[in-house]
């Protein structure tokens, strides 16, 4: 499943970049994250529970890896989740561009692979769930950015 799009943060690129490298922020931003801890440089592990309408039991042990970092303009995020309902594995390539304001335009292209039982039954919802989770995550990140910039 391909999920591409753009999002505008009201804030400078460096702040957005720092936000995206901070596991406590990611834990709050990624919907359904119960735990997310850094295990080593650019490696995170935790538990995520995707809960949408009838689907409330999609709990995954996740491993997150940040790669190909070119600070502060570009990096890739690999997410692998394994759970009772199946697995997800996705690669997102994220680029950040600063514009007067300052605002930061994020451009993301992601390819998410869903597998096992959840792929065979959840198909009707997957693209919508993907869109919803991405939107929720980016809104939460932007919200977090505003509160940081204010202090």
């Amino acid at each position: 499943m391909i999920l591409n799009g753009t999002f505008t943060f009201n804030g400078p690129r460096a702040a957005v970049w720092d936000l995206l490298q901070d596991p406590t922020v990611l834990a709050k931003a990624l919907p359904g994250t119960k735990t997310l801890t850094r295990t080593s440089e650019d490696h995170y592990e935790g538990v995520m529970k995707v809960s949408v309408g009838p689907m409330t039991a999609a709990e995954f042990k996740v491993k997150v890896l940040l790669k190909d970092k070119i600070e502060p303009e570009k990096f890739a995020m690999h997410i692998d989740g394994k759970g009772g309902v199946g697995f997800t594995s996705g690669i997102a390539t994220i680029t950040l561009e600063e514009f007067p304001g300052p605002v930061t335009l994020m451009n993301y292209t992601s390819d998410v692979q869903i597998g096992g039982r959840i792929a065979g039954v959840g198909q009707r919802l997957l693209e919508s769930v993907g869109k919803m989770m991405t939107k929720q995550a980016l809104d939460a990140l932007n919200h977090e950015l505003q509160s940081r910039l204010k202090t």
Binding site: G53, P54, T56, R117, V121, Q123, S128, K131, M132
Partner: protein, 294 residues
């Protein structure tokens, strides 16, 4: 495909149900008709820790008059609504829509409130309630609030309902004069989830011009969508085929369909326009002649 273990409660009063739901919060799921929840549990995509069975709450199953219009209890079986003479007379859009919802065996158990609270973007009743601008009565332990259809649906399978709250009543406003309705849906087989669908409710003024037009579309976004641009095109116009065509084309701007193995976003968008044109044509015919049985 057997469900996982859960704790089961069958309260015999609304109060008892609300306190149970309040106590267990997001760990608890209400069990109304179960026609969406239990399949998800059999697939083990849903595994609520607590199930609060509402089927003993006879007090929530009714169709009766209220000050604001026709009140339907949340636990009223869809089949009862389908067979109700009162509904057929005062809310014929609902009666026309019921046969499109799955099959009789599902509608015998499925409830009116359950379908609305579940808020599946491809479900028929949410769009119909939006077209009729219904009001939703929400109860929690020691309190209640009422929300309009435009505000009730928030996102994918998400409504304003918070853990501990129940949708106990749906009020359908009284039917104004010179009103017309129509429901159109395209599904691959009779009773399947719709690839796209539309519920339309229009009224004419004394001069035969369009006074109000509510066009609610299903399966073309993460929730039922009210086509705002399309309404604007029609208001104050005599509903000519050109005006209807323009309104139908305008719908394409209001919706955000997704693609899946059954239909691309492009095909869903195309269907939304075609079905809206057909529904508007039928609804205005009915409003014009005042004959609902067209």
């Amino acid at each position: 495909m057997k469900p996982a273990v859960f704790d089961y409660y069958r309260p015999h009063s609304l109060e008892q149900a609300l306190s149970l739901l309040g106590e267990h919060g997001s760990d608890a799921k209400p069990l109304a008709g179960g026609q969406s929840l239990i399949p998800a549990m059999n697939f083990r995509l849903a595994a609520p820790a607590v199930l609060v069975d509402l089927n003993a709450l006879g007090e929530l199953a009714y169709i009766k008059d209220s000050s604001h219009g026709l009140a339907v209890g949340g636990m009223t079986r869809q089949r009862a609504v389908e067979r109700s003479g009162v509904i057929a007379e005062r809310a014929p859009l609902v009666t026309d829509t019921m046969p499109f919802i799955a099959h009789p065996a599902i509608r015998n158990r499925g409830t009116f409130g359950g379908s609305l609270a579940h808020a599946d973007p491809a479900a028929e009743l949410p769009a119909v309630m939006m077209a009729l601008n219904a009001r939703f009565v929400i109860r929690r332990s020691g309190g209640s609030r009422t929300v309009g259809a435009d505000d009730f649906f928030v996102g994918l399978f998400t409504t304003v309902l918070q853990p501990g709250e129940l949708l106990t009543e749906i009020v359908i406003p009284d039917r104004p004069a010179r009103a017309g309705h129509a429901f159109q849906e395209m599904s691959r087989r009779h009773g399947d989830f719709a690839l796209a669908g539309v519920a339309v409710f229009v009224t004419l003024d004394a001069h035969g011009r369009c006074a109000t037009a509510r066009i609610a579309l299903l399966s073309v976004g993460d929730r039922p969508i009210l086509a705002k641009d399309a309404d604007a095109v029609l208001l104050g116009q005599t509903p000519s085929s050109e005006a209807i065509m323009a309104a139908a084309d305008a719908v394409a701007g209001d919706i955000d369909p997704s693609s899946d193995i059954h239909a691309s976003a492009k095909y869903r968008r195309h269907l939304a326009v075609v079905l809206t044109r057909r529904a508007l044509t039928l609804a205005f015919e009915r409003a014009g002649t005042g004959d609902q049985a067209l």
